[in-house]
Assembly symmetry: C2
Homo-oligomer: 661 residues x 2
């Protein structure tokens, strides 16, 4: 008789393999981290001798559940701001709190709490995406769970990187260090097509291919995302990311809510995995994913909870039930997504979507021993109809609860026995989490009065490129520059405005500034063709000085101004106001392979002699910004402005300095 470490016997074994085998009185033999055999109890106990035997008391033995998409550290932001508009939630709460608080320690704390919750709820494997992902990986390995850990890359500065170049570098380091770990698959996560540049998508793809690891991303979550993609690139999201090369990697795509049949075929040909997140898609009102069509197209569609701040927990039982219910409700067909299919999605198909199909997701000899025991004997799940053994799928999906999970094993190691956590000491973590929440509360009490929070509460603000290269000079006579712009330089676009700006100033130390601007578009004949009203909120800038130019890094939000100046004055209650009117001519110049904006401004109120020449460029890339800062000097020379008086102040400060405001 072969020797094994564990025999789990007297179990109702539901294998969730391709053949959907069920052993009503079954057993599983485990050696090391592996499943050696599964079958009828009599057969298994006859073939193997076990160091330890566990009598499962007739409970149901399943492969561990696979949470195919989440952001586990966001456990610490559970319920921080629910029932808000999406932009208010994200820009007003989640992102400011993350910027202020997220650190390797906080990520570790959130991960351990999430692991505790998931172990208790029968999850043995999850796909994560967050910042400081190496801390997620370390805490997960310590808790004993299996995970795909993907380091987020975004075009914005993030809590763990000032630029996306930094993010990519740390993703590379992380993947290099963790590849080959028995529990952790390190990975990279270009956050989403709309938060990444084509260059980011390409770099992440190359990185994933180089190390042969999956790539985790969000695709087609909202209809707005699809519309923006069509506007920017003339095609919906999936063709666009295919064109950008992303599908060359082993992709795990979260959401795929707004994809048509052609896009589904594209994903299927690329063997991309999909993570369906029913709670998140409903709670954030993103829409109804075409799950049935994706499954019919042969896609591996798993189920994910998404982060606990859009759920608000990590309960895969709730997620399974919901996946089935909304598929039925939305299609009008009560046979859609039956319990059996849904449980396969939450196990085998989820593992395949994560490109871990060989490792976990079913009870089969040769896979890792990721197993859970579920008690289906509670009063909320009785009686059982047994004429069809497959009734067990209905009991699990429609009536079982996370709290019915009693025992959890991952890679042959017990993480939960009789509902007791074996790898995580919960109480000190909960205390730490409470302290964290107190600090966030205090921050938000102040923050909720911030300009940005007040802005996003009333208008749909959009974050702009964070790097800005600029130079400004005062020209008593701008004719040399005008000549250069009229004849020597390559002009891509030109415009002429009358700009009426009102700057709101505030006494507090944040140095945020809010500008209300009316832009009159002036035609060649001098007539005004249209007027645009915008609000711009800028945060304090970190500056870098170059020869003649300034490199600024700062947050900048633009929103359409749909209300009156009077309304904003009462709403934002500024300490002071500065009013400036100017005539601005603006050129988009192509210069040595880069694009720059050139403004030629004449201040009309308060009136100032001469003109100001500004050369500006904005970008998401720090490297790009540095390159442009160097080029700008040459462009200034072309404009005949090298020896002009440089001005470092912006217009409100020029007004202050000249005492004219």
């Amino acid at each position: 008789m072969a020797q094994v470490d564990w025999i789990l016997k007297n179990a109702f074994v539901v294998c969730l393999d391709e053949g959907f085998l069920i052993y009503p009185r079954g057993a599983v033999a485990v050696r090391g981290g592996d499943i050696l055999a599964v079958g009828e109890e009599g057969d298994i106990t006859a073939r193997f001798q076990a160091r330890d035997t566990m009598d499962c008391g007739g409970r149901t033995l399943l492969p561990g559940l696979v949470n195919a998409h989440t952001h586990v550290p966001m456990t610490l932001l559970r319920g921080v701001a629910d029932d808000r508009r999406l932009d208010v939630w994200l820009l007003g709460y989640v992102m400011p709190v993350e910027r202020e608080f997220v650190s390797p320690d906080v990520v570790r704390l959130g991960t351990l709490l999430a692991c505790a919750e998931m172990i208790r709820g029968g999850v043995t494997c999850f796909a994560d995406m967050y910042y400081f992902e190496e801390s997620v990986a370390a805490a997960t390995a310590e808790a004993g769970l299996r995970a795909l850990c993907a380091q987020t890359v975004l075009k914005f500065p993030t809590p763990d990187a000032a630029s996306y170049e930094d993010s990519l570098a740390s993703a590379r380091d992380f993947i290099g260090r963790w590849r080959g770990h028995p529990l952790i698959v390190p990975s990279v996560a270009p956050h989403a097509p709309y938060t990444c540049t084509p260059e980011i998508l390409r770099s992440c793809t190359d990185l994933a291919i180089e190390f042969d690891v999956p790539l985790h991303t969000h695709l087609s979550e909202t209809s707005q995302e699809v519309e923006q993609c069509r506007e920017a690139y003339g095609m919906p999201v999936i063709p666009w990311i295919k064109k950008a090369g992303l599908l060359e990697a082993k992709v795990l795509a979260a959401h795929c809510v707004h994809v048509d049949e052609g896009e589904i075929r594209t994903l299927s040909h690329a063997r991309a995995g999909v993570a369906h997140n029913p709670s998140s898609n409903l709670k954030l009102a993103s829409g109804f994913a075409p799950v049935r069509t994706m499954l019919e197209a042969g896609l591996n569609v798993g189920i994910g909870t998404d982060g606990p701040s859009s759920n608000n927990d990590l309960d895969m039982f709730e997620e399974m039930r919901l996946a089935s219910f909304i598929a039925k409700g939305h299609s009008g067909d009560p046979t859609a997504l039956p319990a059996k299919t849904v449980l396969a999605m939450a196990t085998r198909l989820g593992a395949r979507a994560m490109h871990l199909g060989e490792v976990t997701g079913s009870i089969e000899a040769g896979k890792r021993a990721d197993l859970i025991l579920v008690d289906l004997e509670g009063v909320h799940n009785r009686p059982h109809f047994e004429r069809d053994p497959e009734g067990v799928y209905s009991r699990i999906v429609y009536a079982a609860k996370a709290s019915d999970v009693t025992d959890v094993m991952v890679e042959g190691r017990w993480l939960l026995r009789d509902r007791k956590l074996l790898t995580i000491d919960l109480d000190p973590l909960l205390k730490e989490a409470d302290d964290f929440a107190r600090r966030v509360d205090a921050f938000l009490v102040t923050r909720e009065g911030s300009l940005l929070s007040k802005l996003v509460a009333i208008e749909g603000a959009v974050q702009e490129e964070s790097y800005e290269v600029q130079v400004k000079v005062r020209l008593p006579d701008p004719s040399a520059a005008e000549t250069a712009l009229a004849s020597r330089l390559e002009i891509l676009r030109r415009a002429h405005y009358h700009e009426f700006d009102t700057y709101f100033t505030f006494a507090d130390e944040s140095q945020d500034r809010l500008r209300y601007r009316e832009d009159e578009f002036v035609e060649d004949d001098g007539s005004v063709s249209q007027v645009r009203y915008r609000l711009t909120l800028t945060g304090p800038a970190a500056e870098g000085e170059y020869e003649h130019s300034v490199l600024l890094s700062r947050s900048r939000f633009i929103a359409p101004a749909t209300h009156s100046l009077r309304f904003y004055r009462e709403y934002f209650k500024p300490e002071g106001e500065i009013n400036i009117a100017k005539d601005r001519r603006r050129w988009l110049v192509h210069f040595r392979g880069e694009e720059f904006f050139v403004n030629l401004d004449r201040l009309t109120s308060p009136a100032l002699e001469g003109a100001f020449l500004e050369v500006k460029s904005r970008t998401w890339s720090r490297r790009d910004a540095e390159e442009k800062a160097r080029l700008i000097v040459d462009l200034l020379r072309e404009l005949g402005a090298t020896h002009a008086e440089p001005v470092t102040a912006d217009y409100p400060n020029i007004m202050k300095d000249t005492g004219r405001s």
Copy 2:
């Protein structure tokens, strides 16, 4: 200091009253079954002296949850046949099992199990509708829960009544006996407009008004129901039931999925309560109820689980979460149905929808002491953000679970302490339930091969009126009858068919018979204008003989025949076949205030001399059937057929008897 029975102190008290009061360190004073006071802990302990004090350890004290619509005995049918088409589920499984098994004892068992599950999950009050409702009431009172118990009335024979007249009589008895009970409000439930006749709706309304009790019903659950109502009555469901008088009663209407704004106003003016059942509406693919519009119109919209066979449990926490999520997902607005609103629906508004708003649904002095304690300190619900006390709503609705309920009090009596049931001895009940399930399994194994199950599995069968009055005579010369029909009788409609019938016969004892019929519609000029194909399944009949006529009571299902005779022959595998072709002329006759069908048939294959005269009428009412059975003799006399040879056999048996088949 006033003396009270209980002070519950050191609780985070969430009152759910109109003002949504919250006492982060609060207390409640209870005397007898009543809440005497709620407030800050210091204030309550200063004002009252308690016989017993409970330290709630900081847990959250809520009014008990109100399950505004369910069928609790169906706990025993949990998971009996999931993921089926609606007609297959109802006609193939639920109704046959109910007909076979439902008894007062079974109802009592299912009710006690349901009460155990609901107590554990924090439900203190529910609205029920089932058969043998007096057994539901008795078991609920024994368990100590509060309930609106409504005796179902249907036009079909039910497990507890051979006719709706019997149902109405037992509803009257039940209400008379139970009115004034401290926990139970007895009530009547006309099942739904499409399963009731106008007379049933009127009688139930009168009964509810006479005893001043609410009336519980299903309204506008599916779009099919609305279409059928438009077809039958030329208007959607709500105007129709208003016309039928139903809204004169204090109505609790389950579902209201397919109602427009005008119908919502009608319900609102009638002060009808609505029970929203998100799980059931999704699982059965009924649709998305316009909950937000109903709330905005001032309707009291509660939340219900519906019966556990369409859910599959009685978990109001899941139901709350789902109510919020689908409202957000369906409207595309993440601010729709916020947690605070949803919790009010599951408590105060639900009680009002049940017309029990003065009694329960919030923690307020003067209401009954229906209270639950919930532990929000689990790892799946940490940390807590406390800057806004209303964050508690989000914790309860989005992350709390039924298993977080620790203590339950109803009418001042403890039903659950520290998660232990105090009024129900669960183990013997669970054993009984398992035995019940074994018997149902055995029944269904046989039943799944039945003709009806096989029929509904492929075609959309509809149940026909169960009472049939008929007489058949053989007329060597039908000219007297023809003359009467042409001149003396009032004819409402006439038609002429060639009918080609194939009867499938089966050897088993069930005596079910299946007929495949092709009806050629013959025009006045003898041409055939269209052909109709139908299947009719008739069960064995219970007969009552009258002077010349026969009163039959039997199940009869009609389905369109969308396949070929060859297909049905292979699918149903009959033992034998009888083929009959005939020429049928048919009149709908108005005679002494009643309507009768008169058929004059000439058999063409096998050919028989003379003609057969049939007089028939179908009805849902036994009283009506008896009245018609008496009238039929007079009609026969008018047709000059009193002395003709009466035939009691149907055509297949006539063929057998004459040896011609």
